[in-house]
Structure formats: C-alpha cells, structure tokens
C-alpha cells in the first residue's frame, strides 16, 4: 500500500522533456505494457475506447492483466474473451447498456477465473483522482451503508473538523494508462473534445502513459487551444496515430458507434458463447497484422455514415 511512494519515485526519475514520442502501436504496447501490469483504459462504456491498443495487446498476448476502468465495455470484453485478465477494478462491466450483461464477463467471473473488484462510479473515479493529486486517499459519502466496502476493502475515516463519517477511497496508481483522444502532438500534449470522463486523472495517476490519437496535430494547434490540453506531454511515454481507434465504438466529433458491428458480435456470442468470441478475435484481431489492416475490414460506406452522424451531434445539426 506504499504505492504512492513508488509512483512518486517513478515520476521523479522521468525524462520530463518535450521530445518526439511518435511510434507504432506495436512498439508502444511492446515497450510499455507488460505481463501482470495494472492497465487503466480511457472512456466510460462509450466514446473514445482505446480499442486499437486493446487489439494490439491481444495480438501481443500480454497476460495476467489487472484492468482498471470506471465502466468497462467492449475493450474489456475482448480482453476477457482472450483470457488475458486476472482482475477487473471497476464500477460496472457490460458491453453497452443496450446489450445487457456480457456473457463472457459472467462466465469468467462466475467461474472464479477473474476477480471483479467493485466500486461505485464516483468511488473508482476518486481512486484515480487521489493518485492524480498525489495523495493516498480521498474522502466521499458514496458507498456508506452499502456492502461495497465489504468486498473492495474501502476503509472509513472520520472528518477531523465535523466528526462526519466518510469512505476513504485509496489512490490507484496504474502501471500504464492507455488513452484514446481526438488530437495530440508528437510530444504527447493531448486534447479531448467532448466529455473527458476520468481520463485526465488516469493520465496523472499512472506511472506510464500511451496516447492513441485520431489525429496527430502540429504543436502550434495545441498552443492555440492550450486551455483544452488536458494531458501535458511530460506525463506521456508514447504517442500513436490511430484513426478510428475507438471503432466499433464512438468518438465524439469523429464517428458514431458502429452499432451493426457490435450487434453482430453480441448475437454471435449469444449463440456460440466463448467459441464465437474467439472466432471474432480470429477474424478481427489475430487475423490482421495491425490496426490499419483491421480498418480495411470495415465497410467504408457505413463508416462515412457514422462520421456524418458524429458531426451532426457535435455541431448540433437538427
């Protein structure tokens, strides 16, 4: 539990300079994600999932992972299907609200293969925020009176001023955070359009950070919108260009969800269980060399419609 001291030591030893960190997904994952790591993933159920990075992690067969994410989604679904996860720290795991509970998730957890350490949504968000702020805990009234502290071992604390009882959530320092954003420069300065979820905090909480971006932009674009930068370069180890990196999920301003793609997967798994999921992995992950080969498999016409729709939502077209 002295993770704080360890995490601070890693920060102190960083090369904090503004150097070029552009690399391929293959290289970024190989360098910064290891067997047994605690990996934080961006997004909350929908929008800006680090799907391209997750598919690369599966291709590289990185094992015994602990996944830390506020609300898990198709990213964790595929990692669970691939059998790479030993523990999930989260408030919720499904594929997406419309598709109900994931069969793969149930199977893995009900068999005891995977531990699901559950927090409330605010609870897991504050675990990242505590780490981001460099303190060992943060207080909240959430989870009082519930049974969550019995399983996640959250401790209570008394406010020294008011005597009020609160839950102290412990800081969570992931080994690596993988965050999909709309725009980043080659140094790792990252701009998120739309909801940020807990992503600025997970970047600050983690010991290492991989940014995957829809577009790599010139640093002058960052400087012109510097008040939208939510992750500064000195936290970042690797920057990867990953257009449609959240596919088949959505990305604010860039594309809406590829509903049909996910629906096909869910229906296949309903029938064929784990075997169907593995067939999906064979086709879309193991069977392709990289993210760009994956994209070749997506019908362009469908993609264009999703792009149009995302712009309509972003700009409030009627």
């Amino acid at each position: 539990m002295m993770d704080l001291i360890e995490a601070r030591k890693v920060a102190e030893q960083r090369d904090h300079s503004m150097k070029d960190k552009l690399m391929s997904m293959d290289e970024a994952v190989r360098k910064y994600v290891k067997n047994g790591d605690t990996v934080a993933l961006s997004s909350a159920n929908y929008n800006r999932l680090a799907m391209a990075a997750v598919r690369e992690m599966i291709r590289q067969n990185i094992r015994d992972l602990t996944i830390a994410k506020t609300l898990c989604s198709f990213d964790v679904e595929l990692l669970l299907a691939a059998g790479l996860v030993k523990k999930v720290i989260s408030s919720w795991t499904s594929i997406g609200v419309v598709w109900g509970v994931s069969r793969i998730f149930r199977m893995r957890v009900e068999s005891g293969e995977v531990e699901f350490e559950e927090w409330s949504n605010l609870g897991i968000n504050l675990r990242f925020k505590a780490a981001a702020m460099g303190v060992p805990f943060l207080p909240t009234f959430a989870m009082l009176g519930s049974d969550l502290p019995k399983v996640n071992k959250a401790m209570t604390i008394t406010c020294p001023y008011t005597g009020l009882k609160l839950i102290a959530v412990p800081a969570l320092f992931p080994d690596v955070a993988i965050i999909h954003v709309q725009r980043a420069d080659k140094y790792g300065n990252a701009i998120i359009d739309g909801p940020v979820f807990a992503d600025p905090d997970i970047a600050r909480a983690a010991k290492h950070v991989i940014i995957t971006a829809e577009e790599i932009v010139d640093t002058n674009e960052i400087r012109r919108e510097a008040d939208k930068t939510c992750i500064p370069f000195f936290l970042v180890d690797a920057v990867v260009c990953a257009p449609f990196g959240s596919h088949p999920y959505d990305c604010f301003g860039y594309y809406d969800i590829d509903y049909e793609h996910v629906d096909d997967y869910v229906n296949a798994v309903k029938e064929g269980k784990l075997e169907a999921a593995q067939e999906y992995l064979q086709e879309y992950v193991y069977g392709v060399k990289d993210h760009f080969e994956y994209l070749q498999k997506i019908p362009l016409e469908r993609v264009l419609a999703k792009v149009h729709r995302a712009k309509a939502i972003r700009y409030g077209w009627e």
């Binding site: 009900e110 009082l144 519930s146 972003r314």
Partner: protein, 258 residues
C-alpha cells in the same frame, strides 16, 4: 369514454413523470426513466434539468439522437455543458441533484438494491454488471426513485448484497453515515410504494387502475407495509400515452401494448 390500453412500463413512466417537481435537476440513465423525464418536460415540468453521469448537462432529447447510454456521444446532443464524470457526481454530492433514478435486479424491504452479484463474491452464482453510478445516486441524490418490473424474484426480504442503499436497515440511513438524501418512491408496472418514516420499510402507496392488492403481494418476495388507505393511480391520459409513444415509436425503451 373508451378505455385506454397501456403496458406496465407505460404507466410506470407516466407515474414517474408526474412525480417530479419542476425547476429541479434530475440525474438519470437512459431507457424508461429518461423517457419519463422527457414526458415530464413536455407536460408537467418544462424547466426540469437533465444531467447524465457522462458529464452532460441539459442535452436536447431529440428522437433522432436518443442516447443508448449516459456515456455515448448522443447523450451530449446540444448539451450546455460537457463536464467530467467526477464533476457531475460531485455536483450530486454537493446537493445539486434533486432526483436520481435507479433500477435494480433485487430490491429488499428497506429499499436496498442489488446490482452486483448473487451468491459468493469470489465465485458468484450470478454476476451482475455492478453499481455503475447507482450507488452514487442512492447515496448522494436528494430524492431517489426506483423504477423496476414488479416481479417476485426482484422483491426479496433481504438482498444478497447492498449495492445501492435505501434505508439500509431498521436503524435508517443516518446511522450509517448517509446524512443526505432519501429514498422517495418505488414505481412498478403494478403499484407505487414509498417508505414508512419510522419503520424505514417499504410501504404500499398506490395501486395502478385495475390492479388488486393480492396481485401486488403475489408478485413480491416480502410483504410491504399496508397503509390504512391505499391510493389508486390516476390512469394514463391519452396525451401522456401519445407523447410517450411518439418519442419511442418502436417501443424500444418503453414497451407498447401488443
């Protein structure tokens, strides 16, 4: 006057729409409660404010962009603010969320909800999706409304696991440190329930038109407190049903009559 046909989901949505005061902030997920709040905005509470856990404040609920999830990009359509999740959850902790909606796989006689697991934690019989924002809503919103199907397996004497606290137990919320907020209503397709102020237990409040007390009790695993006077829900109006169905023509979120 011809009798209107409607489903349990529809009357639940209608009752929910009538249950919120105007000029207040509602924290809701998608699906039925969102449709209910959109109905409320149209008929009873034009200045109701919608906040989603994805950080979206006052989006426009357009049929064209009905969100699948409080976190998808549609949920932010024309919102006036797109904040962080922690920000909106803390605004709730600060007291700015007047109504919160949750549902539940299991609900017990103190209004506690289980959406975590049934059986043993490390090897559960059934693993459910988990709290998500439900525990936060139940702990931090000023008034909490549960909307759920009225099924025997859902209403249990004691939940296997308290994911989201109602009154917790006979000692009540404050004893456990929950100094804010309170469970307000449970709305189902058959009835409306509230809570006995001293006993802290679920109490029947109203039966929907045509529903009998026996029907309600037969579909519950525990016996709610029965008050001296049980109300009867005012039936859904033609207008209420028309708007609900217009907003959701396929009955995807709020089931239509067959």
């Amino acid at each position: 006057m011809t009798e209107l046909r409607y489903t349990g989901a529809e009357i639940a949505a209608v009752v929910a729409a009538r249950s919120v005061e105007d000029n207040k902030v509602v924290f809701t997920g998608t699906g039925l409660p969102l449709m209910a709040m959109a109905l409320a905005q149209r008929l009873y509470a034009p200045n109701l404010v919608i906040v989603f856990e994805g950080g979206q404040v006052q989006p426009i609920l357009s049929g064209k962009y009905t969100p699948f999830s409080p976190n998808d990009i549609r949920a932010g359509y024309k919102a006036v603010m797109l904040a962080s999740t922690t920000d909106v959850l803390c605004l709730m902790q600060r007291g700015h969320v007047d109504y919160g909606f949750i549902s539940g796989a299991q609900i017990d006689q103190y209004g506690n909800v289980n959406t975590s697991f049934i059986g043993d934690y490390r090897k559960p019989k059934v693993r459910l999706p988990g709290s998500g924002g439900a525990n936060d809503i139940a702990s931090l919103a000023s008034k909490v409304i549960i909307i759920t199907r009225h099924e025997k397996r859902r209403f249990v004497e004691k939940v296997d696991f308290i994911t989201s606290p109602g009154n917790v137990d006979e000692k009540g919320r404050e004893y456990h440190g929950l100094i804010f907020g309170k469970p307000l209503l449970i709305i189902t397709g058959l009835a409306v329930m509230d809570y006995h102020p001293e006993l802290k237990r679920v109490r029947l409040k109203a039966l929907h038109p045509g529903v009998t007390l026996e029907q309600v009790l037969d579909n519950m695993g525990f016996k709610p407190i029965i008050p001296d006077k049980i109300e009867v829900t005012k039936p859904p109006t033609e207008e209420e049903l028309r708007i609900l169905r217009e907003m959701d023509p396929e009955g995807r979120w709020v089931e239509h009559p067959k």
